[in-house]
């Protein structure tokens, strides 16, 4: 077949001819049609070219995705590597056969969604998955009309085509054949901060619905966290039920806050907020048993004066829990004397992570129950 190349066509025609050659060769390899014979007819008129086109259009199955070799320099190189051709590396000598008069306009179009030849070789059967698109330089369009639903789909990046054309091809195929069956990976990595999403089987593949699905998944992930927060939500699995519970819970909490604030407003102002009970079980359900002493500034309103909690002075067995209560004093002018009334014991252990590190603690430890209002700021270092 390579002998046909010895024609006097121009360089551009040679390119077209090369394509024809490849087509014919492929056809011959795959279908053993008469296309080869007809294409090799020596008539230089355009009728042969038309016949070539006709032949090829009559057997659309031939023009599968695997049919078209890559029509670029690689192809030319591949062609020229065969020794029997006898023509040198580009520009090769022009052919003499019908392809010589083959018009550029009626040449077989290059496809944009054409797989690599290496991929094509692997296919035994012609499974045309891609719809071929007309190269913008050619008028004739040869279309592989087979739009079978196949699982395997080859995505090709033809180097000379723009990314948009390639993407269009894939999206067309996606619309036609892949809505039901295939897995589609939508790669929109033009910029590095895109989110790469893989569409699942049986789901829509356009970018909006993918983004929508990502959002929904994030929201449902968050709802799982909320399940732990809202009591009684563990049994509920549906999103609607969960939302109901959350709404109820938030509303009830807010009502409780209002009620309690009204209660506080109406309270008799014996506000000895000594908070010695504050860190007992009722406020901290898992509070610590005993705490080492920390220096504390009597001025509550100034957080900056609080001293840092020394976490090294941790719970010691020697500390008598009876004598130690963790409290905070307020040097409000009203509430002086009852600062250390209670020596409520802590019976549970506060996890040490709560007290470490990131906040300045201001807890003090008192040892005597009947203590004066002036809190001695002494550092307690142990029993």
């Amino acid at each position: 077949m390579l002998h046909c190349l010895n024609s006097n066509a121009s360089g551009s025609e040679m390119t077209v001819l090369e394509r024809q050659r490849a087509t014919i060769k492929w056809q011959h390899n795959n279908n053993h049609h008469q296309g080869y014979s007809s294409s090799s007819s020596p008539s230089p008129s355009s009728s042969s070219s038309i016949s070539l086109v006709q032949v090829q259009s009559s057997s659309p199955a031939c023009l599968a995705a695997g049919a078209w070799p890559k029509l670029d320099n690689n192809f030319l190189m591949g062609f020229t590597s065969s020794p029997s051709s006898g023509f040198p590396l580009p520009p090769p000598p022009p052919p003499t056969t019908s392809a010589a008069s083959f018009d550029l306009n009626s040449a077989i179009s290059r496809t944009s969604s054409c797989p690599l030849p290496s991929l094509a070789e692997g296919k035994e059967t012609t499974t045309p998955n891609n719809k071929r698109k007309t190269d913008k330089f050619h008028n004739t369009k040869v279309v592989a009309s087979d739009n079978d639903n196949k699982d395997k789909r080859v995505k090709v990046a033809a180097p000379n085509d723009s990314a948009t054309v390639g993407k269009k091809g894939t999206q067309d195929c996606g619309d036609n054949s892949n809505k039901d069956n295939s897995k589609v990976s939508e790669v929109q990595n033009q910029k590095p901060d895109y989110i790469h999403v893989r569409a699942r089987r049986g789901q829509a593949t356009d970018s909006h619905s993918l983004a929508e699905r990502v959002r929904r998944e994030k929201i449902s992930e968050r709802m799982k966290f909320l399940q732990d927060l809202v009591p009684g939500c563990n049994k509920i699995t549906g999103k609607a039920g969960m939302l109901d519970e959350i709404i109820n819970y938030v509303q009830s909490l807010q009502r409780q806050v209002e009620f309690l604030s009204m209660k506080l407003a109406a309270v008799n102002p014996r506000l000895d907020f000594n908070m010695d009970d504050l860190f007992t079980r009722e406020v901290f359900p898992a509070c610590a048993a005993s705490f080492p002493a920390i220096e504390m500034s009597p001025n509550m309103a100034n957080p900056a004066s609080y001293l840092h909690f020394n976490s090294s002075q941790q719970i010691d067995a020697g500390i008598n829990p009876q004598d130690i209560s963790l409290r905070r004093t307020i040097s409000a002018p009203v509430s002086a004397p009852e600062t250390f009334l209670d020596s409520s014991c802590f019976t549970q252990t506060l996890p040490s992570s709560t007290w470490e590190g990131d906040f300045q603690n201001l807890y003090s430890v008192a040892f005597d129950q009947a203590r004066a209002a002036s809190f001695p700021s002494q550092l307690f270092t142990g029993s």
């Binding site: 983004a211 968050r222 209002e258 907020f273 908070m275 406020v283 905070r328």
Partner: protein
Amino acid sequence: MEGQAAKRRRVYSIEPKKVVEEAVFTRNYMNYLVPALMKIKAGKRSSHCCEIQNVVKHEVDMAMVFSAQGFAWSNALKANLQRYQNEHSSSSGGPIITSNNPSNSSSKSIKYVNKDIKGEEYEDGFINNNNNNNNNNSKLRCLRRLIPGGEDMCNEQMVEELESYISCLKMQVNVLQYLADKNC
């Protein structure tokens, strides 16, 4: 999570989730609220009880804001409170004494309204096959009204904020419960 309350964009937050620790919150809350309450009590004994209630509510909310900083809802709550404060500016430098204003712009009024929100939404005539989606949307709208600043959030941001808001609400209730029980 911070600073995203203003726009209803679909923003995927990649910041680490901020967790409010109970001890920190409680300490801060008491830190703020107790002196404020003392000041209220000491200052205006003869005030109308409704006024005191408003002031106490305000201080309760402010304590919440103070204790849980860095969340979108706390910023929104702060903005609400400041707006309320500006609208009813105090006469003296003391705590805010206002008449019982029914058109309260703070979040408290929203809470009263929301008691019937869920019922209202269910009364709409939904098409059956859209029912599920519409229900979910209406519930999300309802939630959005519950959380302060929720109108400006997109859905996933709102769900994120909900976690911190619910945990802070729980802690607030604990503290207030303690204070109320202690002194009654």
